[in-house]
Symmetry: C2
Subunit: 376 residues, 2 copies
């Protein structure tokens, strides 16, 4: 288990080149960190390319040009300077040229198009790091986004997930994050890229579980939002979030056997779940308004997310709930995941939002839950 | 493991008599539940005695008399009627006379005095259920409150802990709770006493871990409060609470080997931790004000807790931190519990409250943590 497939080794004798693919809010924060770290690193080349999907700003200027002239992403991370060695590149193939590490931090629905563009453009020794939340289900069966990228580009993949509110990390407030990486030899490089005084990086080898945590916590946050919106109280909220955590564990136990229960105690697990459910973030806010107002999710996303591109910035949780539900239904396993199922049914109007409470009432007593997970 | 000591069996052929010892906020809520359940139960006698520490109210009436005349604890749970079969009794020995189940729900510092009064007054077959938070350390070494009660009264003990904000349970909002009980034969009786439509009871046999969760979560809530008060952000808060959860696990692993990791996934574990750290409860509010204001804890408790009896209603977390610290110091194990230690040092003015953040920075990478726990 967890032995690396035979990818060609990176050459140890030269500085690595990093490319950040994505320039939204989180992508720009990560580019700021990678750029700063690359300025004075023995392991990293100074120049960091950041792939920018070109947009015309309201004043007619182009986003990439503003970033390269003023070192600020005025659209997605206004008020924070990027180091000058971060260079915005609008051609994806050019951005990845010669890159040893590809950091994927763009909305999930653009991943396949991007990957298709990059086929044949990537160094065969490259390593990918996915910061993307959610699953991929375009081929039908549910799959991890990192698997999709690996399949397209034939590179080994790591993932980075944690309790990482982007604006706080941008403001250099202390946070921690989890990197899942099966190849221990990469740990120093990954820390050189991502770790700072204010962002503590822990690396484990449990890639799948780390990524599943990052995807499912948004579904649980919708359930928490329903409880908020219906004003059912803090006890009920804690009960619903706890049940969600149990279903996250059960999901990994069912579909990613050999993963570790200990991963749920990392930043990607309970910590990200807590801040996503309690920190007033997007999924729980939209879900709360949904439960309270009776408006549709689409209406609320448009209202609450400021008319920004819905597809890119909408609630992740309800879409993930939809995909997870289709997958569970195919496997005849909906009953084993009542909370994940209830979120989907409520989001699609089939059940009322307080169906999540019924899950708490109906939950079986304390029962053995983990059959296929390692402990730590 | 988990085999019951040879206590005399309860007689199966008669209805059990329940006594609630304590009449504060939580005690009165529990008396309301036990009273309602006893009205129509095949397992329970209708009359429930509630031991009330007599107080004179501002209008000169006695608390016990008001409860028995108006079926309302106007001091500690105003606005909620008790069922008429709950009878306030001011003499503890009289309250427990003939009782088969003793529910302990009074502030920890009154436990020994009460127990001393009850020695020789208890049915030898009686079962105790402790709802008391915190440890007992009056004999020097740290011990569980339930052990202290068992030692005094020679009865077997269960514990009940969970994400149970008392006022919400009083308002019959949905919640769940965990009972730790080593004797499976008691499960139907315990459910008959405590479970309602709105309070879901799960029973496990991991008594010590359930009780330790209930004690240590208040210390973690102080750390969370420091982060709130210093406005360090939601990422930092999640990181600190997560580290606190790890130290709770490590504490049980170190001192209660053979307990279960799965217990931390129950209501007494992550759920109670979340709502205590995020639900604006006493420990975290006082700790936040402490970190922000520079006032002493004693001043703040007096200010914030409305001048009510400090000893009974003060912050549990800092006192528990003090006791835990003394115990860890004796065992030369402070370094293995940096967050619990930092809370104590901050509360006593030895370290600044942001010492809890340094714990996050200094925490070791992902490492095996559990050696002596069972999984589920």
């Amino acid at each position: 288990r967890h032995s690396s497939p035979c990818y060609p080794a990176m050459k140890p004798d030269r500085k690595k080149r990093v490319c950040v693919l994505g320039s939204g809010n989180w992508g720009t924060v990560i580019a700021k960190i990678v750029g700063s770290n690359s300025l004075h690193s023995e392991l990293l080349q100074e120049r960091v390319s950041m792939y920018v999907y070109e947009e015309e700003l309201e004043d007619g200027r182009k986003l990439s040009e503003v970033i390269n002239e003023h070192h600020e992403n005025v659209k997605y991370l206004p008020g924070h300077k990027l180091p000058p060695n971060v260079v915005a590149v609008t051609d994806a193939a050019e951005a990845v040229r010669g890159a040893d590490v590809l950091v994927f931090v763009l909305p999930r629905q653009f991943v396949r198009t991007l990957c298709a563009t990059l086929v044949g453009q990537i160094k065969p020794t490259a390593v990918g790091v996915s910061l993307i939340k959610g699953f991929d289900s375009e081929d039908g069966p549910l799959d991890l986004v990192s698997n999709t990228i690996a399949r397209y580009l034939k590179i080994r993949m790591c993932v980075l997930m944690g309790a990482n509110n982007a604006n706080e990390v941008a403001a250099e407030k202390v946070a921690e994050t989890t990197i899942g990486c099966k190849d221990k030899r990469l740990v120093p490089l990954l820390k050189a890229i991502f770790q700072t005084d204010y962002l503590k990086v822990s690396v484990n080898d449990d890639v799948e579980a780390v990524e599943v945590c990052g995807a499912l916590k948004n579904v649980v946050a919708c359930a928490a939002g329903f409880v908020d919106g219906l004003e059912l109280g803090s006890n009920a909220k804690a009960a619903v979030v706890r049940l969600g955590l149990l279903e996250m564990v059960r999901f990994v136990d069912s579909f990613y056997p050999g993963s570790r229960l200990g991963t749920f105690f990392q930043s990607c697990g309970v910590a990200d779940l807590m801040t996503t459910c309690y920190g007033g973030q997007r999924d729980s806010r939209v879900a709360a308004a949904f439960a309270k107002s009776g408006k549709t999710l689409a209406e609320l996303e448009e209202e609450m997310l400021g008319g920004k591109k819905l597809q890119a910035r909408g609630a992740i949780g309800t879409r993930t709930a939809f995909e997870v539900n289709r997958f569970l239904k195919e496997n005849k396993m909906e009953e084993q995941f009542p909370l994940l199922t209830a979120v989907h049914l409520a989001a699609t109007g089939v059940a009322p939002p307080n169906a999540v409470l019924q899950c708490v009432r109906d939950a079986p007593d304390y029962t053995p839950m983990v059959r296929n997970l390692l402990v730590m």
